[in-house]
Symmetry: C2
Subunit: 546 residues, 2 copies
């Protein structure tokens, strides 16, 4: 049986576009003699559709799309993810389903059993879990269809008390097909491949897996749809970060491989690079914007953001603004200019000095002789935001935020100042990862001025300021933050690994006290297993480690 | 059996404070001869603890608190909500539990079966549902303990396929005790009472119900813990929006009432008023802040916000700043002054004209002869934000946001301008509700200047601007928004109710296109069944009705 895998970049809620993409893939597969074509989980709606699922109108449009596409499925079958209505009175109103379309109609509907509800996933918010298990017969093949998480209960400490494949295997399926919406993080591709490999090996039948690709606000889908044989051996995979389409013959992959495929191993930093470029690109395209603006300081964060934006949008679509103050060092301006010139990106220099004087005067009757403190630093950052947002509003740019995860974690940034923007590009990269990515970009030639990379980081909001005046060394800070944020370790566990108790207490307190700031930040492109944003939900008003 | 109900205001993650409150209630109840004292759901941690639950350290502190409190339970039993660790390998790591403490130790642990995972609730994110049902015997009484949602599956279209009381009633309990964390919205008190009444009547035994009280960031808990007899008759309730404590004798409420209690009926607008005042108060208290600042425009939104802040924090703790521009009308400044004087609140006038000229000059080489548009409007709003945030930073005020729900819905506000603030007070009130609440405040005397209420709403960001230039009449807009936001009706359903198709399409598009703005707003005190914030989760990048 010839099985086509269609790895597409869907646009949430854009039924017209999603249907057209699916239809043209069905026609292509038919033309190439495929028996079945497989699309991703919730392909019709895009993933995640979030609370659109609570609108009957939205569900009706999903159902209409399925009905229309069913008519295309003559001479070919299609498996397509879409929500379906739960016919039972009890339970949630919807299932997360895989429609099996053939002979011009809906032949079967298979529902998802295991509903991920953790990190960025909210599936039990919307869906009733499946409780009935049936393989589907088509052209003499018994197919066990599962949806994403359904194959993930294979760990030692399973998250669910049911295991769908344990039920389905009793019906002796010939192949497994899994449709998924499995978002990228920089370790996920390997974890995912291991999980799928375990399934194929355990159940002893080939596995065909189709994932989403593309950026959905903060979530980045890397694609990497794949095929395993029944010996748990890797047969082939589809592209990363791009749409792709391939056809496989389920007969020819029944035997163990004589020569194991060598899989290309991409470094984590290259994956992160490609994910971010795709994420910027899709954020703009899907919102209908073309052009980005950002404040270029001469520091490494804005430099790296500019490079990624230029790669995603093209040099003609990116504008850099240098916003010097009396605290800006000469080399900062020079480094910023040099980068803009390296990239051939348009830049302008707008001093914030006059505006700063103006606010200082307006506030002097109230501030009187109170000493210069973080207030005056914030004013500078906010003046820059006013200027950048004015240009953004006037010319239709999206302002890119240039904060990194280390800063966001400890609240080292100005709300309504440098924390502004439509999209945070680096907000899920610790400062040490920012350096790593800058080096990756410079590997062949000096794109980011070497000076931006080697100079001590500084916000340049007071004379001779350095990040290290207020923060521990990033090499230490980032390790500590990783233990707390990604691994959810508490102070005792962290201290037990050799970190200074005072430092740990201080840093964790900073993280927890700054939830209010992170609450108001732009969406952050997610590249780690625990990003600030929809996947990390903390109380703002609380007193825990703070 | 004498049962004490302790309705307390917990502080999320503040174990010391929560334990002290619980302990002193246990001692008080013991002193008054109570047999059992009942506390709310997840009382130990505060509700909602959100992702703190993912930290082993946090769970260990909950467990320590329970162990300590158990030692106090000699001569009295206590039922206290806290997370507990799931001993099974399969399933989520935690249960949402009610600990039954007596004889100085943990005697029983009852787990929650129905885990609300919709709107503001995320319980299946953390907890494994209970599957075992056992009543607890104490002093010759069989007690059916359930946790909040466990009693809510009694509707015609039940959300769950299990009904805990249907299991427990087989064991012939004498009373029901339900511990809850049921947040306020302006229709919730009645819905809740009806639901509890149905349970008491259906199962024919008295029901003792303990809720949280207090503000937890955006969530407001109204308390209103209550007792029903086995005939579904209302016996008594605890206070609204305040801590309270009462003892009931389960024997004396076994008979039907001869004279039904007449329950005080509080108007929705009074409930909203009290909820908002409590919400402001708790937001400040629990964050360790005392003083608020806000921009007072002379319009109704900031006027109402100021009154509520003054009631929550005291007149000495609120500061109003008038920030006029050349577009501000004389009456605006006069109305703002008059309100500040009525309330005896300190105010200052800081013109934004000079700063506005400064930005205009800085940007003129780029804007050239382009016409005045929303860009210049936004600059004014952002200058105000810079000044307010500078005062906030310098003196330790929290800036109160004064946006309403109608504006937030259609994006009629400036990001990093009037959308700034630490807390949005009116962000869940439609403009028509803002008027209603202003009238309620003025019912005895003119506190909010009458002129602020009757003049046509205006942002005063360009000459003779009125909200009605850009938006439909609020009376129509608000009805339409309610159908879309609260009732999740689609365009067809709304148009079928007589709204103009063009208007509906335009408004729904505005709502959906402005998710990016709402993503960056402060927490909004929730008073409706569907507030912007944690309970409404929409994609930013999407194309549905937009």
């Amino acid at each position: 049986m010839k099985i086509a895998l269609a790895q597409l970049n869907y646009h949430t809620g854009n039924f017209e576009s999603n249907i057209n993409k699916i239809r043209s893939s069905i026609n292509k597969a038919k033309g190439l003699g495929a028996d079945i074509i497989v699309f991703a989980e919730l392909a019709i709606s895009g993933y995640p559709p979030r609370d659109f699922l609570e609108f009957n109108d939205f569900i009706a449009q999903c159902n209409d799309a399925i009905s229309n596409l069913a008519e295309d499925c003559v001479g070919i079958a299609a498996i397509i993810g879409s929500p379906s209505i739960n016919p039972n009175v009890e339970g949630k109103d919807l299932f997360n389903s895989a429609y099996f379309l053939a002979d011009g109609k809906v032949k079967h509907i298979v529902h998802k059993t295991l509903l991920p509800t953790y990190d960025i996933f909210d599936e039990y918010r919307y869906f009733e879990p499946n409780t009935k298990f049936e393989v589907i017969e088509y052209k003499g093949n018994k197919i066990a269809i599962t949806i994403c998480e359904d194959l993930w209960n294979i760990m030692d400490n399973p998250l669910y008390t049911v295991c769908p494949m344990e039920e389905l295997i009793n019906q002796k399926p010939d192949i497994m097909i899994n449709i998924a919406a499995s978002p990228f993080h920089y370790k996920q591709a390997i974890i995912r491949k291991n999980t799928l490999q375990k399934n194929a090996a355990k159940y002893g039948i080939p596995l065909f897996y189709v994932n989403h690709v593309g950026g959905q606000t903060e979530l980045l889908f890397d694609g990497a749809s794949l095929v395993m044989n029944g010996f748990g051996e890797f047969i082939d995979e589809l592209d990363y970060f791009k749409e792709d389409f391939k056809i496989f013959d389920s007969e020819t992959i029944q035997k163990p491989l004589l020569n194991k495929h060598t899989q290309k191993l991409t470094s984590e930093i290259e994956l992160i690079h490609d994910a971010l470029v795709m994420g910027i690109c899709d954020y703009f395209n899907k919102l209908g914007f073309k052009q980005a603006i950002l404040g270029l300081s001469g520091g490494i964060d804005s430099a790296l953001t500019l490079v990624l934006a230029e790669r995603a949008l093209g040099k003609e679509n990116v504008r850099a603004i240098l916003l010097p103050s009396k605290f800006s060092s000469d080399h900062s301006i020079e480094d910023a200019k040099k980068l803009a010139e390296n990239l051939q990106v348009k830049y302008d220099i707008i001093s914030i000095e006059e505006a700063n004087d103006c606010f200082t005067n307006a506030l002097s009757p109230y501030f009187k002789d109170l000493p210069f403190n973080v207030t005056e630093e914030n004013i500078q950052a906010r003046i820059r935001a006013v200027i950048l947002m004015a240009l953004s509003n006037k010319f239709g740019y999206i302002l890119l935020n240039t904060s990194n995860k280390s800063e966001a974690a400890v609240g080292y940034g100005t709300l309504y100042g440098d924390m502004c923007g439509g999209l945070s590009v680096l907000g899920d990269l610790y400062k040490t990862q920012v350096y790593e990515l800058a080096h990756f970009i410079n590997v062949e030639k000096e794109i980011i001025p070497y000076n931006s990379i080697i100079k001590p980081p500084s916000a340049e909001l007071r004379p001779n300021q350095k990040d290290s005046d207020s923060l521990p060394d990033y090499a230490i800070l980032d390790k500590l933050l990783y233990l707390y944020i990604e691994l959810r370790q508490g102070p005792k566990e962290i201290i037990a690994q050799g970190f200074d108790k005072k430092l740990v207490d201080r840093v964790l307190k900073m993280v927890n006290m700054n939830e209010y700031k992170r609450h108001q930040t732009p969406p952050i492109l997610r590249i780690s297993s625990k990003a600030f944003g929809m996947g990390r939900r903390m109380p703002i008003v609380a007193k825990y480690l703070s």
